[in-house]
């Protein structure tokens, strides 16, 4: 059984790969390469897997919220990903890379009995990125 909780955060970013030329970056990333960046209202779904305990819950909602707020939202919400998040100083803040970073942020401090099973991030309502977490 899995339980999924949805969170939101707003952040800005600019997609620019240092290994590519200015021209190549413009062609590859289009508007996402505009020099001053732009923002999104990201929606993050965190899925945990397990068996309900004596409370009838796979995961205590307050503990899950505290984990996600403490490890992820406090570091990403209302931030400029390129400038304010250390890991993105050398890594392009695509949503793919963002999903992997959130996985790392959560797994480093994960102390819930339920297993972190999946992350799903929507950058806009028209796209979504899913990451299954290895057992």
């Amino acid at each position: 059984m899995t339980l999924t909780r949805r969170y939101r955060f707003a952040a800005s970013h600019r997609l620019h790969a240092d290994a590519l030329s200015e021209e190549e970056n413009r062609i590859l990333y289009g508007k996402c390469n505009n020099p001053y960046g732009h923002g999104h209202d990201y929606v993050l779904e965190v899925t945990v897997e397990g068996v309900p305990d004596s409370s009838g819950q796979i995961a205590d909602r307050a503990s899950l919220d505290e984990m996600v707020r403490g490890q992820v939202l406090s570091r990403l919400d209302h931030m400029n990903l390129n400038q304010d998040v250390r890991e993105f100083r050398t890594l392009v803040p695509t949503t793919e890379n963002l999903a992997s970073l959130i996985e790392k942020m959560l797994l480093e401090h994960w102390n819930l009995p339920a297993r972190l099973a999946r992350l799903r991030i929507s950058e806009t309502e028209r796209n979504a990125f899913e990451l299954e977490i290895a057992r």
Partner: protein, 139 residues
């Protein structure tokens, strides 16, 4: 091939374990332990899996699926106080997990009994837009 049908029901519940003190329940369930209950608009997505019938081109007649959902879930649970009116929630805490598991049991048995070559693949229950539970065969 999998097909999914959606249904909705509104119900009230209290999350509290009768074996625990009011204080313990408050600590575990927070506001959901308020003794007189509160409500949600539950959204249910039921997914069945099978091969389309070569004659009808359908995996499952959606009108029949709708009728099963109505009989097993919507009629018994809609506009009810789950703890007081819908067994087993008189003694099982109606968390989203336990409600989803109960819906799985009701539907899985009936579909297995009445519909050959098709099986229940997933039950997803939204308690709010921001919290949902999935139950599949492996759970």
């Amino acid at each position: 091939m999998r097909i999914t049908r959606k249904a909705e029901f509104s119900a009230s519940h209290v999350c509290a374990n009768a074996a625990w003190s009011a204080e313990e329940n408050r600590k575990v369930y927070g506001l959901s332990a308020n003794p007189n209950g509160h409500g949600h608009n539950y959204v249910l997505e039921v997914t069945v899996e099978g091969d389309p019938d070569p004659v009808t081109g359908m995996v499952f007649d959606l009108r029949e699926l709708k009728e099963i959902l109505n009989q097993e879930v919507v009629e018994p649970m809609d506009h009810r106080f789950l703890n007081r009116e819908v067994p087993p929630f008189d003694h099982v805490v109606p968390t989203a997990e336990n409600i989803a598991a109960e819906i799985w049991r009701r539907l899985e048995e009936r579909i297995r009994r009445e519909h050959h070559g098709v099986h229940l693949a997933n039950v997803r229950l939204y308690e709010t837009a921001d919290l949902y539970v999935d139950v599949g065969a492996e759970s």
